[in-house]
Amino acid sequence: MSKPSDLLQGTLDLLILRTLALEPMHGWAIARRIQQASNEVLQITQGALYPALHRLEQQGWLRAQWRNTETGREAKFYALTRAGRAQLEKELAQWERLSGAVALVIRMAEE
């Protein structure tokens, strides 16, 4: 149960923000959605998920609200704030740039 490294943590933030851009969700649903969307490749440990959610909330990028789920249970739903949306744009751009650069380096190594 080691702490995720900085790279992973940054990535986790991006994944959470991106997931919540669709609709407000509670923690368990976020983890499940990421897992499904990645074809079960990305398994989010709860040990990393909840601290990340609380951190993003503290930074004003998410806003939390207690609401009832479809099954009638009370859960803490997270939603993107306007600042969070802006942050998502920024992180997405950064990610594109980074992954593009990494791809370039890898292709060069192949030739």
Partner: protein, 891 residues
């Protein structure tokens, strides 16, 4: 960017802090919800209910840790945790009150001492002088090879003032005390004659009326007076109608033209008044054309014009003095100008001493830090199991470090609070101990700055001595400690090493301090043993001031002095009684330059200078100043005889080459002397320094009292009598008042007292550095004791085994003491090297002792080894008590 985002953030932080319970409950609920969802999902995938729940829990991991991390994400955790840590630390400390008391007390002592010294430094060095734009105020001196800082001649001062380009105001002052009469009982007032613009120069306006103008400086006028706040209130009932009223000073009428608010005296060199509100009245400084330019007694202050730098002012003054020398070659040649900032002039002499004191007290604090770190380390070892258990239960490393730091901060802040209390008392004691002539003593207070300083050093101290034990604790090897179980924890090699390093550092710092104290002690002893050039024991002195109104002519004054001397000499038990214008070791006022020595030329570019004094017959005998050549004054050296002088040995050697050559030599103060203007040297007396710690004596001339060219209105009485001082004091007072019942007798004291007062500055420094050195030695001894006794406790088994195998108690003692002394020896060697390197900082405070004085170094080293051995002996002796059977059974 997004203001609402910051609002969100602020709202959330506040909520986490204030509504902690609710936030915690929500977190709990959130995680529980997650667990339930996970369990449901597992159930759907076909697990049995218990399997599903277990898998979910396994997946979730440590709930406690997630909670902890979430709390940390909310940031406020820091504050909450800190408060919690403090509470925990307080509980832990309360469990070992002896340990806590020792650390807190040593820290309180060291922090308190630092705060006390800091408050002196704050008041004396850091606070600006109590005048507006005080950094623009300077002192102006004449300077020559023989006299680096000489007062100016009034006529030179007037010329400089008229031609000045660099200064807004130039003002001269000279001490000129008066006796106030006509309102209540007569009182001798401390007074200064001041030129026009003196208060404007200081930047202080009169509370009532005006200050003096250049018209008041004319000799025909000069009968105005400005009252100090104190005199105005105490003697004139704060009368707001006092302007224009006439008061009697020395029985002459003076018109009150102004009243000052409390003014701090800016200090002066000759007949000095310590700075503070100690001047009672001011009268106009009058310029007498016929006094000539040979006599130097004006102490000069000036305020720089805006934009003029010190260097520009100095250059301007150099040009002016060169100009004066061209105009008056007979008197003003050979002088240079010296412009110094007032702050430097006031504070300069004690600045180095205060910084040395601050350094010394800082070393004490460092030693206390090392000591506390060592004690905490020892305890951290003893608490290894507790720490390991906490780590095993999920406390993060940084959390553990913070916990340990909270403890050391709690200790140091407690020490700081107690230390602040001690500082308040300590400063009071310090000010009481201060030498009488200490500058700005009235500015020393324990104020907010001092408390802030105390708080900061307490905080820094806590971090400094807490960091090592905290890191150590965080590095605790869980597995090992828990495996060792109940067998009692032992220190790892690294930890022992760290403690040794701290101990060595502590001992070396204590050695540096002790050597500093030792050097100061030796130089103090040297000052005490310096031959003063006179014998201060059993000499009673007093001073009188003859009012001009009653004793107008020189011969009136001289007549009084002759009668007084006769009365004093006839007192029972008196061996010798005399009168003189000055007492040894008090610093001198009147100085003269520009006399001519028959048949001799001064070195090129220089002039003959000397201080001048008047002395009656028996003055030298009463003070015990030896006659080197020639003769003392006799009753026949009066106006009917040819003029004579006595000079001191240094003057004879400097200007004639030898004492023998000087006797019979002649000097004159006139440019075109008549035969009656020549003074013949009839005697050479031994040298007396201006102050006991002056580097060397300076040339001096004495006129016989009966021949003084002008009557000295102020005279010191010297009576040598091996009798009870109180009786002699009463007899002296009686003798004066039997001639003039209205005359006040001031400054009745024994010459040893005068001598003692001049030792007070070095004694003060020595006392404090000595005190700090003792404190440092004590702390280091506690440190050695602590380390060694801890190591003995750890090695009880080993000693038990050794004894069982036949080792004698003496062997064990030797081994333990050897271990401690070896460590101390390393510290001592480092300390000696450090002291050698730092020695030059002390040099200006030392007197006839080298900064690398071998005797001091050897003595300190020997004492340090002895103290280390004693500190080790007690634990060593306890080691021999180890029961061999108990040790073996424990294995």
């Amino acid at each position: 960017m997004h203001p609402e985002r910051w609002l969100d953030i602020a709202r959330l932080r506040l909520r986490s802090l204030v509504r902690r319970g609710q936030v915690e409950r929500e977190l709990d609920k959130e995680l529980r919800f997650h667990l339930e969802q996970e369990t449901d999902a597992n159930l759907r995938s076909g697990m049995t209910p218990s399997e599903a729940r277990l898998a979910a829990i396994r997946r979730l991991g440590g709930v406690a840790r997630i909670g902890e991390e979430c709390r940390e994400m909310r940031r406020t955790g820091y504050i909450e945790n800190f408060l919690h840590d403090l509470r925990y630390a307080a509980r832990t400390l309360a469990k070992t009150p002896g340990f806590a008391l020792v650390i807190v007390l040593t820290l309180a002592l060291s922090i308190g001492a630092n705060s006390a010294i800091f408050s002196v430094i704050d008041g004396v060095l850091l606070q600006p002088l109590p005048y507006p734009q005080a950094d623009r105020i300077v002192r102006i001196f004449f300077s020559s090879h023989t006299f680096p800082k000489f007062p100016m001649n009034p006529l030179d001062l007037r010329d400089v003032r008229a031609r000045n380009r660099s200064f807004g105001v130039i003002a001269g002052i000279t001490r000129d005390d008066h006796q106030l009469s006509g309102v209540g009982r007569p009182e001798r007032l401390t007074a200064f004659a001041i030129t026009a613009g003196y208060f404007r120069m200081l930047g202080i306006h009169p509370a009532l009326g005006r200050e003096f103008t250049t018209e008041d400086e004319l000799p025909a006028r000069g009968k105005q007076v400005i009252l100090s706040d104190r005199i105005w209130r105490t003697r004139f009932g704060a009368d707001r109608q006092i302007l224009g009223r006439t008061i009697l000073l020395d029985d002459a009428p003076f018109t009150v033209v102004g009243v000052m608010p409390p003014v701090a005296h800016p200090g002066n060199e000759y007949h000095a008044v310590a700075d503070g509100d100690t001047v009672d009245v001011w009268t106009p400084f009058t310029f007498h054309e016929d006094n000539g330019r040979g006599s130097h007694f004006a102490e000069v202050f000036a305020r720089l014009k805006p934009g003029v730098t010190l260097a520009q002012a100095q250059a301007d003054m150099d040009a002016q003095v060169a100009q004066l020398a061209r105009e008056h070659p007979g008197t003003t040649r050979g002088w240079r100008a010296l412009v110094l900032p007032l702050y430097q002039e006031l504070v300069g002499p004690i600045r180095r001493m205060l910084l040395v004191l601050l350094g010394a007290v800082g070393l004490v604090l460092l030693i206390a830090c090392a000591n506390s770190a060592n004690l905490l380390l020892a305890r951290a070892t003893a608490r290894q199991r507790e720490i390991a258990v906490r780590a095993a239960l999920g406390a993060g490393r940084s959390r553990l470090v913070r916990q340990m730091l909270a403890e050391s901060l709690l200790i140091s802040l407690l020490g700081g609070a107690l230390g602040a209390g001690m500082a308040v008392g300590g400063v009071r004691a310090l000010v009481a101990l201060l030498p009488a002539d200490f500058p700005r003593a009235t500015d020393i207070h324990v104020n907010a700055a001092v408390f802030a300083f105390t708080f900061l050093i307490a905080l820094a101290t806590g971090l400094l001595f807490g960091v090592a034990p905290a890191m150590q604790a965080a590095r605790t090897d869980l597995q090992q400690v828990l495996r060792e179980g109940g067998r009692g924890s032992t220190a790892g090699a690294r930890q022992l090493h760290l403690r040794d390093v701290l101990l060595v550092g502590e001992v070396s710092l204590a050695c540096v301090l002790s050597i500093g104290a030792g050097l100061m002690l030796r130089s103090f002893v040297n000052i005490l043993h310096t031959d003063p050039g006179f014998r201060p024991e059993r000499v009673m002195t007093a001073s009188i001031s003859l009012p001009d109104a009653k004793y107008q002519k020189p011969k009136d004054k001289i007549g009084f002095y002759i009668r007084l001397k006769r009365h004093l000499g006839a007192l029972p038990g008196v061996r010798a009684a005399g009168l003189g214008s000055d007492l040894p070791w008090t610093g001198y006022d009147d100085n003269i330059s520009g006399f001519t020595i028959e048949g001799r030329q001064p070195p090129p570019g220089q002039q003959f200078h000397a201080r001048y004094h008047a002395a009656s017959e028996d003055y030298f005998r009463a003070l015990g100043i030896p006659l080197v050549r020639g003769r003392f004054f006799t009753p026949h050296d009066d106006l009917s005889a040819s003029p004579v002088i006595i000079i001191n040995r240094i003057m004879a050697r400097m200007y004639w080459g030898s004492e023998d050559a000087a006797v019979g030599g002649r000097i004159t103060f006139e440019d075109h002397p008549k035969p009656a203007d020549w003074f013949t040297v009839v005697g050479v007396v031994g040298d007396v320094k201006d102050r006991p710690n002056s580097a060397a004596a300076t040339p001096a001339i004495w006129w016989p009292l009966l021949q003084t060219p002008f009557g000295f209105p102020e005279m010191a009485i010297v009576v040598r009598a091996p009798r009870d001082p109180a009786q002699i004091a009463a007899a002296v007072r009686g003798a004066v008042q039997s001639i003039d019942p209205e005359l006040a007798v001031a400054d009745l004291k024994q010459m040893d007292e005068v001598a003692g007062k001049t030792f007070s500055t070095p004694r003060f420094a020595l006392f404090l550095v000595g005190l700090f050195a003792v404190l440092a030695g004590l702390l280091a001894a506690i440190g050695i004791y602590g380390v060694i006794s801890y190591s003995v406790t750890q090695r009880t088994h080993e000693f038990g085994l050794r004894m069982a195998l036949g080792a004698r108690p003496a062997d064990v003692v030797r081994q333990v003491v050897g271990q401690g002394v070896r460590l101390a020896a390393v510290g001592i060697v480092l300390g000696l090297a450090g002291a050698l390197a730092l020695g030059r900082l002390l040099r200006s405070l030392l007197y006839h002792v080298g900064a690398a004085d071998p005797l001091t170094f050897v003595l300190v080293a020997v004492c340090a080894v002895a103290i280390a051995a004693i500190a080790c002996y007690v634990p060593a002796w306890r080691a021999t008590m180890a029961d061999p059977m108990a040790a073996l059974r424990a294995e």
